[in-house]
């Protein structure tokens, strides 16, 4: 195990192998949930990257929507291959993030969050009003081909799942390696004290810009997967502000400790949503909001921290018992 191939890398690899094996047994509805989790997971990784610097974006639906709409637009232009679509989606979202990054890298805290939100709402306004962009109805997304191959109907979704799992795997490993690199580690220092980082000779703004572009790319990947999975793009379910809220929700749910946890968080979110919607259609927001509140209150570092949290509690209890015993001895 060297620097790159650490526990997280192997964990992610095992996860990928597990997913590919599971693919043979999954029912179609489970596969849909899986695909959507992978998609939202990718976006949430992007948010995790930003979160490590202490930045939260309430507008990443902007890049997500950009990726998704790129798929629809390219199909209208006649391009229909998943890999080409992915590259295009990443390119448009990435370029947008690159240009906006020049501006956003100067912002911190709540201003960063709100400026992102403003941009995503501008895109929402444009998409919802422009006839030629599909207006509020959006576009349908046709079945895609895989490097020129069009599989049989019953093979289409499983193949899509395999591709999505690979995309998510590459995104996650890439993000993990980035976070372990000097550039990635430096941004934690930016969070602690930006001015000291500047005095050490690094540019905090450049580091944030890199992060911003990466998170835009990842949101683009998520958008492409989502568009192909649900076969439809529209402004209300892709770009409106609660969509951005959901991504932040997943980041909080999973915690920012580990890239792999994000996918678990996305899966938990998707299951919560599906089951809450199934069993209590009028209560799913309540269930979702309630669980988010519980996490924020009792598990501030997300689901990932359950183990360390339990260990801490146990140690605290042990320490208390020890001190009680000692006090009892002294009294005796």
């Amino acid at each position: 195990m060297n620097r790159l191939f650490d526990k997280t890398f192997w964990g992610l690899t095992i996860g990928l192998v597990g997913l590919l094996a599971l693919n043979f047994f999954l029912e179609e509805w489970m596969r849909s949930i899986g695909l959507q989790s992978l998609s939202r997971g990718c976006v949430a990784i992007g948010l995790l990257i930003l979160w490590r610097t202490g930045l939260v974006s309430f507008g990443h639906a902007l890049f997500f929507g950009f990726g998704a709409y790129t798929v629809a637009m390219m199909q209208i232009l006649g391009v229909n291959d998943l890999f080409v679509l992915l590259i295009c989606g990443m390119a448009t979202a990435g370029f947008l993030a690159f240009f906006l990054g020049f501006l956003l890298r100067k912002y911190r805290a709540i201003f960063f969050a709100l400026l992102n939100m403003a941009f995503s709402m501008i895109l929402y306004g444009v998409l919802a009003k422009a006839e030629w962009l599909g207006s509020t109805d959006g576009f349908g997304v046709k079945q895609v081909s895989f490097i020129g191959m069009t599989p049989a109907d019953d093979m289409y979704r499983p193949l899509l799942f395999v591709c999505a799992a690979f995309f998510a795997y590459i995104s996650a490993v890439g993000a993990h390696w980035y976070l372990k690199s000097t550039l990635g580690m430096m941004t934690m220092a930016v969070r602690e004290n930006e001015i000291r980082v500047e005095y050490l000779g690094y540019s905090a703004e450049k580091a944030i810009h890199v992060k911003y572009v990466l998170s835009g790319l990842l949101a683009g990947v998520g958008g492409v997967i989502m568009a192909v999975t649900v076969g439809h793009v529209d402004p209300d379910s892709m770009v409106y502000w609660p969509v951005s809220g959901d991504f932040v929700f997943i980041t909080i749910l999973a915690g920012t400790g580990n890239v792999g946890a994000t996918f678990i968080g996305a899966l938990v979110y998707e299951l919560l949503r599906t089951y809450a919607f199934e069993f209590a259609p009028h209560l799913w927001q309540l269930i979702l909001g309630g669980s988010l509140l519980l996490i924020i209150m009792f598990l501030p570092d997300g689901l990932w921290s359950i183990r360390s949290e339990l260990r801490n509690r146990r140690e605290l209890r042990q320490a208390k018992r020890d001190s009680d015993n000692r006090a009892a001895e002294v009294r005796r």
């Binding site: 306004g125 422009a130 979702l288 209150m297």
Partner: protein, 300 residues
Amino acid sequence: MDFELLLVILVDGLVYSSYLFLVAVGLTVIFGVQKVLNVTHGAFYAFGAYLTAYLIGLWAKGGLPDAGGFFLIFISAAILGVVLGVIIERGLLRFLYDRDEHIAVLATFAAFLVLEDVILLIWGTDPYLAFQPMSLLGSSEIAGLVFDNYSLTMIVLTFVVAFVLWYGLNRTQFGKILLAVIFDREVSMAMGINVTKVFLITFIIGTFLGALGGAYHAPIISVQPGIGVEVIVLAFAVVVIGGMGSIPGALIGAIVVGISRAAAVHLFPEVELFVIYGIMALVLIFRPEGLFAPIKARKI
């Protein structure tokens, strides 16, 4: 562009501005004092609209005079202010004052989701209508366009609310205490101010204002699920444009947004939806602290 169109844009814009101000001012008050960007404010608005529409419906069914509707508007806002204000502040917000500000935003976002469904549980998914106060006041014609008088009274209410808040903040003892708490929470605590109480009262006032925005707006709109989601981002935009935590800022922000939206509606209808966020982005780019908030020194 002719003069009549200009007048229409102005009146329409002012009506919309007053609606925005009523919604945004509570948000800015809470942000100014507690430093929490309170997403549940959208739910306060929705609650205000629902309770008022419901009560006015009952009132009209009982055959009571329509003028009572105005009384009901303020009653429901006051009830909601106290009930929701105490529940949210004591039950949630007080645990968040020491946490990161975006954690507080997220927690209130979660509470917002919960409250949205509580509304559905209480009032169901059917839309409510409460037109009685509006039809009571009739309408008048300005520059060839018909405006209902009820909307015009909203402009008056806006100025009353703005004046009361200004007076309360600058000319009363509670206002002085509040300014001290805003300036330095810990020192004012050391001076013997009961900050917990001040926070609670401010939050109740903020909640009351949010609910009042919804309650006063209820007769004009069809009260249905989802109204809170739309309102809260609008209120964000207004508050950001004016400067977060500034009451005159909220007034100016509301006027800027209201007039430009009215202009967009009458001149270029296709840009209506994003003109507001366009302005918000521009303000954030060129004057991120808002048009009115004072610039703060950065702590090193």
